[in-house]
């Protein structure tokens, strides 16, 4: 489909026969990134990127409409101001509100890449390439897409591998480990866990400081991916994941340059 300058990269949609290689790449990546090590159970929607020798270097899954079979949950990170001039008070407070804002939007998810043997520059090139391919693919399917595109990034974990955010914001409400829920229920895990989470806005200041600091922070292993997203026109959209507080990057599909370029090319 597309080739690049330094690494010779080629991308294509995954086939059923690619599942084993996909699973291996995802497992390796998740282990290094500290993400839940849930391997994909089918290859549908995955875009694969390989080098000139045909070695699988990266993958991600494009879902044109996310959550229509199992609602997607996220916390919206809002701001409220408590001010009283007679007391000289002006307090800005962050709130977390559980919702389904992203349900029905397009999603790029389950990203994985070779972050063991490639140099950082090669990884950056690979990620730009993967993202460009995914956006071209989305442009082709745009008639059926949602208006927004989002990408979830895993959040911070402590040295023991526990999500910092979940310790303060999840455990008081749900004893079940989210990794175990993901392994057991697949995409449905969010619905089951969200049933136990607070439905009203939570003031972040009620949470321990470490938990507050973790809100919207991506795992360090994802910083290259985060940079590629920002470069392509994505931005943190004030939504975070419910299990680890990781940021969700969002973009208006119609405003993304690669989408516009692809559409212009198609219009020809």
């Amino acid at each position: 489909m597309t080739s690049a300058n330094y690494l010779q990269l080629t991308s294509r949609p995954a086939q059923a026969a690619d599942l084993a290689a996909l699973q291996a790449l995802r497992m390796d990546f998740c282990q290094l990134a500290g993400e839940p090590d849930t391997a994909p159970t089918h290859a549908g929607g995955f875009l694969l990127t390989e080098n000139a020798e045909g070695r699988l270097l990266g993958c991600l899954r494009l879902t044109v409409r996310a959550g229509l079979d199992a609602p997607r949950y996220a916390y919206h990170v809002g701001t409220v101001v408590h001010a009283a001039s007679e007391l000289g008070l002006f307090q800005r407070q962050h709130t977390l509100l559980l919702g389904n804002d992203l349900t029905g939007c397009a999603e790029l998810g389950e990203v994985a890449w070779d972050n063991k043997t490639l140099t950082p520059a090669e990884q950056a090139q690979l990620l730009r390439h993967m993202l460009g391919v995914a956006l071209q693919e989305l442009a082709l399917q745009c008639a059926n897409s949602g208006e927004r595109l989002f990408v979830e990034l895993a959040g911070l974990r402590d040295p023991a591998g526990q999500a910092v955010f979940w310790q303060g914001m999840g455990k008081p409400f749900c004893r079940y480990e989210t990794r175990a829920a993901q392994a057991r229920f697949g995409a449905d895990w969010q619905r089951h866990v969200a049933a136990l989470l607070p439905k009203h806005a939570i003031y972040a200041s009620f949470l321990p400081h470490a938990v507050q600091r973790s809100i919207g922070q991506a795992a360090p292993q994802l910083h290259l991916w985060q940079a590629a997203l920002v470069e392509a026109g994505f931005a943190y959209g004030q939504h975070v994941r419910i299990d680890d507080g990781g940021p969700i990057y969002e973009a208006e599909i119609d405003l993304l340059a690669p989408i516009r370029a692809a559409r212009a090319a198609l219009a020809g």
């Binding site: 449905d188 136990l196 003031y203």
Partner: protein, 344 residues
């Protein structure tokens, strides 16, 4: 049983030195008496005006009573009534609510304790300002001080709501450290509890409450000390609190927004002293045999009087020793209100 020798009467501006003494002797946060002389003086003046308001009370009235020990001639305690909580404004409290979150798939059911900022108690009548000198705590004096107010409300029911509430101070140490405030209020004000109490003196709490979180507080997110302090009573407030519980007040639903102390509430007709209350003519005799203890009040605004004395209720009225009628500044044949004092 002899007459108690305790007399409850409306306060007057002359009681200022005694109220200053009570305010200084109260533990921090326990009493709603202002800490400075001018505000106390204003409180006494407002009380005087309230008792003097013969017609068309506005609801802004605040009645302050004082208790005298006639044996010593000293004022030994005080208690009050605010006719309308949050008059011309809102009265804020936290309401305990429980939400059940369940996931059949995960096999979990959680009963979550939440606190909802509410105005439920706005326009209730509030019982306020209770203080009794420590050496009288184990006498009948605090019973008279707290319960006689209820008969005043019954006598002048058109001046009050038929829903009564009373705030009780929550846990707070001598230095003003309050676990509930530290966990909730401080996050929005960055002030110590004593500072915020000072800010509130003499003004409605509503301007402060407007700055508190309006979405429910999920109790499981609070530190353990704060969770444990919810609805807990300051040790110095146990006596007035226990009297109100004995009267049938309920303490499960509402909490103070600052210190998490319990707020008791009840409907007037359900209160024990009101349910058991009686009114009719007073009978006197020099040699009235000892009866059981009664709360006895002489109706009146500025000349309201109340005491506890042995009495016998018969078909012709309530018989008391002449000394009791004299203490109440009334006489045989006059109508009184009374209720048997059945403790516990």
């Amino acid at each position: 049983m002899s007459t108690s020798g305790y007399l409850l009467r409306p306060s007057s501006p002359d009681d200022l030195p005694d109220l200053e003494r009570f305010g200084a002797a109260s533990a921090f946060g326990v009493n709603s008496l202002p800490s400075d002389r001018e505000r106390l003086r204003q409180k006494l003046l407002l009380s005087q005006q309230s008792f003097q308001a013969k017609d068309d009370p506005s609801g802004e009235e605040r009645y302050l009573f004082v208790l005298e020990d006639r044996a010593t001639g000293r004022v030994i305690g005080t208690s009050g009534i605010a006719a309308t909580a949050g008059f011309h404004d809102r009265f804020y409290s936290y309401r305990n609510e429980y939400l059940v979150h369940a996931s059949e798939a995960l096999g979990e059911v959680h009963r979550l304790h939440t606190l909802h900022l509410c105005h439920d108690l706005t326009a209730y009548t509030l019982l306020t300002s209770f203080y009794i000198e420590p050496e009288y705590e184990h006498t009948l004096a605090p019973q008279l001080l707290s319960r006689a107010r209820l008969l005043f409300i019954a006598e002048y029911a058109d001046r009050f709501s038929d829903r009564i509430a009373a705030e009780s101070p929550g846990l707070c140490d001598e230095l003003g450290h309050c676990p509930f405030w530290d966990a909730v209020g401080r996050r929005f004000f960055n002030m110590d509890y004593p500072q915020i109490e000072q800010l509130c003196e003499g003004r409605s709490k509503s301007f402060i409450a407007d700055l508190m979180p309006h979405s429910p507080v999920y109790v499981p997110l609070l530190p353990e000390a704060a969770q444990w302090s919810l609805g807990q009573l300051h040790p110095d407030a146990e006596l007035p609190f226990s009297i109100l519980l004995d009267e049938g007040f309920e303490a499960e639903t509402y909490l103070d927004i600052f210190d998490g102390g319990p707020i008791v509430e009840s409907r007037l007709p359900l209160i024990k002293t009101i349910r058991n209350g009686w009114h009719g003519p007073l009978q006197t005799a020099a040699d009235t045999p000892a009866g059981s203890p009664y709360l006895i009040v002489k109706p009146g605004l500025e000349d309201f009087r109340a005491t506890i004395a042995p009495a016998t209720l018969g078909s012709e009225g309530l018989s008391v020793p002449e000394t009791v009628a004299s203490l109440l500044q009334t006489q045989a044949g006059a109508t009184v209100r009374a209720a048997p004092l059945k403790l516990g």
